[in-house]
């Protein structure tokens, strides 16, 4: 079974790489054909749908959000301007968060009390980030995007996780806001009464996270989870659930800025959202059975490649 999964995952990776290499050529030929034969417009959205479907699978298996893979890959390998890619990336991340949100809240795996103050700060900063992203020259954003993606790779490589962090004492702010809860650890059946600490520091981190999310349209799950788990001491499962839910608040704010600036094009957004969502469904089914360990390394490799490509593109190569 594991061998089959490994070969299937390898096939998926191969397919993604082949599509990435073929995408610019296909899209370019599609563009050329479109001028001669306008009926060929469907080539680019179709390739985008297939690529985003594979991204959806890999994102779930690699433990990252769809947006963080979508933006560097599509901006690096498709002839679509970064303005439209970032807007689509936010809507891809937003759709996934909206779809998962109700289940996470009902199962008490996402904490609304935790998400409300954090989301307020992150969404304000995401708006600022989106405005900065739209104001700065595209080359600068492309280079910064590449550098950020490489930074995300580093975070993925070095960040450790703690199932139930030790929080000796809740800080004053979290006590005032009564941010705490109960959580049953399924592996042991133990009920954990969790609380958080270092809330001011955590909120400061969400200033940066919000700006990055809005500026690059990346979603921010890659940063939310370490900030909640390692800095604020939220149990891992609650961190993951709240982070996913939090994206629906943070990305909404930035998405409105892009939407109002004419960066949302249905021809790109809808195939991307549907592709990533369908891919996520398939990915979740694979994840239920097993998770090939090498997929995470492969995802980091793809991200690093896409990050370098973004930097090269920013410098005009």
């Amino acid at each position: 079974m594991k061998a089959q999964l490994k070969s299937a995952s390898g096939l998926l990776l191969g397919l993604l790489l082949a599509l990435l290499l073929a995408a610019p050529a296909c899209a370019a030929s599609g563009e050329a054909a479109a001028s001669a034969d306008p009926s060929r417009w469907w080539v680019c959205p179709l390739i985008l749908f297939v690529v985003t479907f594979v991204i959806g699978i890999l994102a779930v298996l690699g433990g990252v959000g769809g947006g963080v893979l979508f933006v560097p890959i599509v901006s690096g390998f498709f002839p679509i301007h970064l303005d439209f890619v970032r807007a689509s990336g936010l809507l891809v991340a937003l759709s996934g968060a909206l779809a998962a949100g109700p289940g996470l809240l009902r199962a008490n795996l996402a904490s609304l009390r935790l998400a409300i103050p954090v989301g307020l700060i992150a969404s304000l900063c995401a708006i600022a980030g989106a405005m900065m992203g739209l104001a700065l020259p595209t080359q600068v954003i492309q280079i910064c995007l590449g550098a950020t993606i490489l930074g995300i790779c580093a975070v993925m490589l070095v960040a450790r996780k703690s199932e139930v962090p030790v929080v000796p004492r809740a800080d004053g702010l979290s006590a005032l806001l009564a941010i705490h809860g109960l959580y049953r650890e399924p592996s042991s059946g133990r009920i954990v009464d969790w609380k958080i600490h270092r809330t001011p520091l955590g909120l400061c981190l969400f200033v940066v996270i919000g700006i990055l999310a809005g500026m690059f349209g990346l979603g921010a799950g890659w940063a939310n989870v370490p900030a909640l788990n390692l800095v604020m001491g939220v149990p891992l499962k609650i961190s993951v659930g709240t982070s996913k839910f939090l994206l629906s608040i943070t990305d909404t704010s930035a998405a409105w800025v892009y939407l109002n600036n004419g960066c949302v094009i249905p021809l790109i957004v809808v195939p991307s959202v549907v592709g990533v969502m369908l891919g996520s469904l398939v990915g979740v089914r694979i994840l239920k059975s097993a998770k090939p360990a090498f997929i995470r390394w492969a995802v980091i490799g793809i991200l690093a490649f896409a990050g370098l490509r973004a930097i090269a593109k920013g410098f005009g190569f």
Partner: protein, 176 residues
Amino acid sequence: MPFLGSELLAAIRTRNENPPQDQAIPSPAVSPIADAEPEVHASLESTPEQIRYASALEKGTRLGLLCLFITFPLYILGVIEPQTPIEKVHESLSLQAHEYQAQTGSERGWGWLRMLRRGDCLNFIGIVILAGVTAVCYIAVVPLMFQRGDRIYAVLALLQVVVLIFAASGVLAGGH
């Protein structure tokens, strides 16, 4: 797409029961906070605010995605004529947003509302519902918060609504 949420939850449970080797971090045998007496108002169950928020979120997300699934085929199959021909959209994808608007004559901001008879503009209904559902969810839980005397959170939630309305208003113009 509520099924995606339930699938994700199931996957999270599976991963926690069988953590992958590369991420398996042993839980402490006895968590220092695990044996603490739970506070009176903490519960394993979701709060009424979370339940109401989840319900509104689910309905809004379903509606938004349903709109997209209906309007997008009408657009790409040419059933309803678009404001900007698809071929022209495709040719202009590599342009910056403001250049794209100049080339295609497409609307920005809420201008699409005036063109709802056009296939491409119809798609914005679903997109705007998805982008707007969060504000609706916040508005839905504010009365509950006031009822429970949770004034700080009620104010925070109202502030979030103001931020979202501000972002949605189109006041925040950007551009290169």
